[in-house]
Amino acid sequence: MEKIYLVDDEPDLRRALERLLRAEGFKVESHASALDFLARLPAEADGCVVMDLAMPGLDGLEAQQRLLAATTRWPIVFLTGHGDIRSSVQAMKAGAVDFLTKPIKAGELLAAVRVGAAQVREAADLRSRFASLTPREREVMRHVIAGRLNKTIATDLGTTEQTIKVHRSRVMEKLGIRSVAALVSIAQRLGVTPTETAS
């Protein structure tokens, strides 16, 4: 099961939420402040973050900005004492999973956490699929998402159009997708950049 990173400055509530999430079978790691959490941040996102918006020191939105700079994307569920539309819009725009108002209903929290957990799982799955690609296949993939035709790619790589076709279908197969559009989207999520056009 996925890990939950719980960040809240209120010890009572933190303990209560920890209990709830544990009862649902999640592994929970609690932090009293965002700074504390960021200091022990794992290299790769391996769980969903549940974070209070208003905290002394570093507040939730500032912590979100710092997390965006990390190598992998962290799903974040925000908690807030009072519904503040401006900060919720800002949080959602920056890719938060959800924005919950206290008192938090267990159903809402668990649903949001599950969405976050699924995102983490999906991303991990995708990363392992990407890892199974050969260097040649990755190169072909970067040409494809740059929007080039098979023929052009073959000329650039000094091989036949047929070979490129095979590589391309292997990439699609390994990543479990069918369309170029999906490939572009996945490449974006994995941080794979298209090949620059050598003019």
Binding site: E10, D12, A16, R19, P56, G81, P103, A106
Partner: protein, 612 residues
């Protein structure tokens, strides 16, 4: 009629006349101590009149036997005149050792008695022959040949004692600075005594043939004394006029102040009051008013308090101020202020209690009105403060509610397990209870602050109050990036006050401090709450490291003064008014790190809990 007869009769009548007048003065006012000198003088003057009558007979005595018999009668008015002189010196001049005077009277008494026993006077054992001498162109009888009584020196030693007594009195008067009376009365008396003595010695020892003319020496004394007493009478008449005038002024002042005057003779129970005083007490101004009927008009709740003061005034001197309620005959209630004084009366052992009363119902009403307005204003300010804190307060209630909800849902999930973790469930229950108490405390405090009503005074432990407020505002302080620091240095010390009002002052000061500290970055905003005991006072300091005082330390406490765009400018004015009603004060000064220090001083109430 011959000249001698006319002169002696005139002197006798004149002396009797003034004597009678002063005897009358004494009779009329015999209770007053001051009239004793009138009595003494009357005795002297009437005695001198009697002497004059006897002397006239002596000057015409036909035989030595008759002369001797008259001489005995002559000594009686002389004796009483002596009594008069001693008494006058004692009562009027209030000087001289009395025993000297009394000794003189005693010796004289013995001499008269011994003379009477010998069958004549103290002057002569027997008179052999009478003759005549010239006096004012007339021939009057005088002793020519006689044998002096051997007891005569005894009689004359009485004169010596009298001279000593009067000399002593004169010396005392002189030392007291009463020089004119010492010179005229004391000196005059002394001259009289010496002349008298000289005359007596010369006559009775047969050194010269002189007629018996004692009255001539006494009359000037009577005249001098009468003059002094007359001056005194005149002065007392003047005093009475002045008194009347001062009374008129007093009455005018009392009328202007709408005050009533009253006076009570504590010994006889006699009560006197001006019509205005009767009107204030709502008592009929005719007929006897007893102090009991007066106490009846006082409101039952105030009666014992008033009675206690009155009872104390019955025995001891003192001034007292009282405010109490009176129930008039229609059942209406009026407030009365009384300023009274108790002092010893003129008679020994008597006591007078007198006072001024005013109807202060209007003032009391205005005071009540003002108090009500103050309560309203304080309430308004509290509501305003709470409105400013509403975000934080919502959070303070929401937080425990969220805790309770999440804990409950966690518990439900735990219970669904085949073997629920009971330890965990127990711990959940404990947390729920704690969160509930936390929310309850916030709601209770909110309700207390929102309640409108008069202050409820009770002993308050100041450290606990400061700590409570810091806890209440904990969320707000965290939200605003302020680090609170408590330095509680008055453990157990208490004040007598209204909890909500004192908390209001502290919340207001902390709020101001937070506003002032927005010039610093969050996390660098330091708030210090300090308590300390200084003698009979408790000091509370609220220190910040904010922008500092932007106006003079006095100006900030005036109503409607504010430096905040949306401020009412009432916070500090109300804080000051609250502290004043607690007999405390509040001052502001610049802090050591550029911020502001607000200092509150309140009197310590009773013995504090630590037993210091």
């Amino acid at each position: 009629m011959r000249l001698i007869d006319i002169l002696w009769v005139t002197m006798a009548v004149a002396c009797f006349g003034v004597g009678a007048i002063h005897a009358h003065v004494w009779l009329r006012r015999r209770h007053a101590q001051s009239t004793r000198s009138n009595l003494a003088f009357a005795v002297l003057a009437i005695s001198v009149a009697a002497m004059g009558v006897v002397e006239l007979r002596l000057m015409r005595a036909p035989t030595p036997e008759e002369f001797n018999r008259l001489l005995f009668w002559y000594h009686l008015p002389i004796w009483s005149a002596l009594v008069g002189v001693v008494a006058f010196t004692h009562f009027y001049l209030q000087a001289g050792r009395l025993w000297l005077g009394l000794a003189s009277i005693g010796v004289r008494t013995v001499a008269i008695l011994l003379g009477a026993l010998a069958g004549g006077s103290i002057n002569y054992s027997h008179i052999d022959a009478l003759g005549t001498v010239d006096l004012l162109g007339d021939k009057v009888v005088a002793v020519v040949a006689a044998e002096p009584n051997p007891l005569l020196p005894l009689s004359q030693s009485a004169l010596l004692l009298l001279a000593l007594f009067i000399g002593d009195a004169t010396w005392q008067l002189w030392r007291r600075g009463d020089r004119s009376r010492a010179l005229i009365i004391g000196g005059g008396l002394l001259v009289f005594v010496f002349v008298n003595a000289g005359w007596a010695v010369t006559t009775y020892w047969g050194l010269a043939r002189l007629p018996t003319t004692g009255v001539v020496f006494f009359v000037p004394m009577v005249v001098i004394m009468a003059a002094y007493l007359g001056i005194d009478l005149l002065r007392s008449a003047e005093l009475q006029e002045e008194l009347q005038e001062s009374e008129r002024r007093l009455t005018l002042a009392a009328e202007a102040a709408d005050a009533g005057l009253w006076s009570l003779d504590a010994t006889s129970g006699r009560f006197w009051a001006t019509p205005r005083a009767y009107a204030i007490f709502d008592l009929p101004s005719r007929g006897d008013v007893s102090i009991e009927s007066l106490l009846e008009t006082i409101h039952p709740q105030d009666r014992r308090r008033v009675d206690r003061v009155l009872q104390a005034a019955r025995t001891t001197d003192g001034v007292s101020d009282l405010e109490y309620r009176i129930r008039d005959r229609t059942g209406g209630i009026r407030w009365v202020a009384s300023h009274g004084s108790s002092y010893a009366g003129r008679e020994p052992g008597s006591r007078v209690i007198t006072g001024v009363i005013r109807d202060i119902s209007a003032r009391k009403e205005a005071e009540d009105e003002r108090a009500l307005q103050r309560v309203e204003l304080e309430h308004l300010a509290r509501v305003n403060t709470l409105a400013e804190l509403s975000g934080t307060l919502a959070h303070e209630i929401n937080q425990p509610l969220a805790t309770i909800m999440s804990n409950t849902e966690a518990a439900q999930r735990l219970l669904a397990a085949p073997q629920p973790d009971l330890d965990e469930l127990r711990s959940i229950m404990g947390d729920i209870l704690a969160a509930d108490e936390r929310a309850d405390a916030v709601v209770k405090r909110l309700r207390a602050m929102l309640r409108r009503g008069p202050a409820k005074r009770e002993p308050l432990e100041i450290d606990a109050v400061v700590q409570g407020v810091a806890q209440f505002l904990g969320g707000e302080l965290r939200r605003r990036g302020v680090m609170p620091r408590l330095e509680l240095g008055a453990p157990g010390a208490r004040i007598w006050g209204d909890r909500v009002s004192i908390e209001q002052v502290l919340i207001n000061l902390i709020n101001n401090a937070c506003d002032a500290m927005t010039v610093r970055n969050p996390g660098k905003r330091r708030l210090t709450l300090r308590t300390a005991r200084a003698g009979a006072e408790l000091r509370i300091e609220v220190c910040d490291n904010g922008a500092g005082l932007k106006a003079s330390a006095d100006e900030i406490f005036t109503p409607f003064f504010t430096t905040k765009p949306e401020g009412l400018g009432m916070g500090l004015a109300i804080s000051r008014s609250i502290l004043q009603s607690h007999e405390g004060r509040i001052t502001a000064r610049s802090g050591p790190d550029g911020g502001t220090v607000f200092e509150i001083c309140l009197p310590v109430h009773g013995k504090d809990l630590s037993g210091r």
